[in-house]
């Protein structure tokens, strides 16, 4: 078997045996269920809590199903991404720090196979989680709020998936770069949060930005994004992902010497 296959099998066993293959999708599914359910029952929950003065009339506009799906994505943007960052921060930095990498690096290891095997496994689990979460979330949304045009839903999911691919690429490159898992998480969260803040503050000046992919994803439910802007942003995201892959391979081989012997 080639090295990539051997290493991918190792990653698979790791993710299976530390239960990441179960608990990460579980988190996304839970978020996907909670959002529509709590939206649906919000008026009644407030009512039953009942501390409102007599005669208060609460007007809750019933949200559109599209809005509920966008709200699920909002949860993923906060909690989902945090979970993914924390789950994969140690992918390379942790192996180096603990010394488990030593016995791999002392062999004729292909660092492309090494890095890409980790990248592929993390992406599979991240995308699986996001897709399962949206699927279950949509099932609930459909039951409680109504249906959504399937093409728009798919466009929404795929646009958001591209963003997730980018985020995981950032996390793995940071894990290759940083000396330990904590710093890798801090670096990736720093990059993701700061660039998003900058983009949301000043981003009106540049419509082409991978950071707007989540905005574009939600805009499929309305008039759809400006096609040129969308495609340029998506293309830029792909270029960035490819760059981060190359960077990760390069850094993990350069930093191999910092593994504990």
């Amino acid at each position: 078997m080639n090295q990539f296959g051997v290493l991918l099998k190792k990653e698979w066993r790791e993710n299976l045996r530390n239960y990441k293959i179960f608990w990460i999708p579980a988190v996304f599914i839970l978020l996907g269920i909670m959002e529509p359910v709590s939206n649906y029952f919000l008026p009644q929950i407030l009512d039953s809590v009942g501390n409102l003065p007599e005669g208060t009339v609460l007007e809750f506009p019933v949200p559109e199903p599209e809005q509920v799906m966008a709200a699920i994505m909002g949860q993923y943007q906060l909690l989902g991404l945090l979970i993914l960052v924390l789950a994969y921060m140690g992918t390379i930095a942790g192996e180096r720090k603990s010394g488990t990498a030593t016995l791999l690096y002392a062999r004729p290891l292909s660092f492309s196979a090494y890095f890409i095997s980790k990248w592929v496994m993390a992406q599979i689990i991240a995308l699986l989680s996001v897709w399962l979460g949206f699927l279950v979330g949509y099932y609930y949304t459909y039951l409680l709020f109504g249906s959504i045009d399937i093409m728009n839903l798919l466009r929404f999911v795929f646009t958001y998936s591209l963003w997730v691919l980018l985020v995981i690429s950032i996390v793995l490159a940071a894990s290759a770069w940083m000396p330990n898992a904590g710093l890798a998480a801090a670096a990736s969260l720093g990059i993701i949060i700061i660039s998003q803040v900058v983009d949301s503050l000043l981003g009106t000046y540049w419509p082409i930005s991978p950071l707007k992919l989540s905005v574009y994803a939600a805009s499929w439910f309305e008039n759809g994004p400006d096609m040129a802007d969308f495609w340029w942003s998506a293309g830029l995201a792909v270029v960035l992902i490819a760059f981060l892959l190359l960077l990760g391979i390069f850094i993990s081989s350069r930093k191999a010497a910092s593994t504990k012997v």
Binding site: K10, S98, L103, A256, V261
Partner: protein, 293 residues
Amino acid sequence: MNLLEVKGLTKSYKGNLAVDRVSFALEERTATALIGPNGSGKTTTLSMIAGLLKESGGSIQRDFKSGVGFLPQYPQFFPWLSALEFTEMAAQISGVDGKKARQQSIRTLEFVGLGSAVNKKTGTFSGGMRQRLGLAQAIVHQPKLLLLDEPVSALDPTGRREIMDLLKSLQQDTTILYSTHILNDAEKMTDQLLFLKEGKLVEQGSLSEVKSRYAEPRIRLRFETEQAAARFEDRKLWPMNRDRNVIALPLSGEGPTMQQVLAVLANEESGIAGVDRQSASLEEIFLKVAGNK
């Protein structure tokens, strides 16, 4: 034939020389012991030869293509892999084909005494088992060169003996370079000694060469009385020194051979309480070399 030739190997960290112009060669199918005090550069030297560290200067020439086997001092394994899964993966990364990798892994694990633990997760392994597994992953792909960093220092005396015996049996078709601070072990299995001190190679040669260079072997004669010893000394047969009833006879230089001494003693009338041959132990040499400024 030399399997590996190291010339002027140097490693510096921020201006500090961890390894300073070290040169040596490893002959095929020999065992070389790398000894020296803590922090003398043993691990750094091994790491560079293993390819884990990039040398700052000098060269490492290998006369072979197939891999190196490396056992770090504290081998770390993925705790969620079984011993067999780990060893098999190690073999495959080193280029052994799938089916062969499994067979060789099982055989190697049995060889190091882990035959009953092949399917146990490495996370549950004791210190001794980890050391055995470390050895297994180092030899599973049948490398020509085996680099071992303190292979037995974490083991109890029984385990140490067992592993040393395993290593000796490997020597038939492997070249071994190992570091140790247990000098008894070094004395048991070594064709060449390399003595590192503060990153420099300060002593090098076969065990007997080094020994003869450092402390001349001598015969110690213990007489029953001080007078008898004094009488023997007065005969001035060879250069010797007396300390009360004990006489030390150097065997090197102008000294006699053991046979000559014994022949003289056979005709000696005064009572002799004991005769023994002393040679400097590696430990004495170690202390001597390590203490030299």
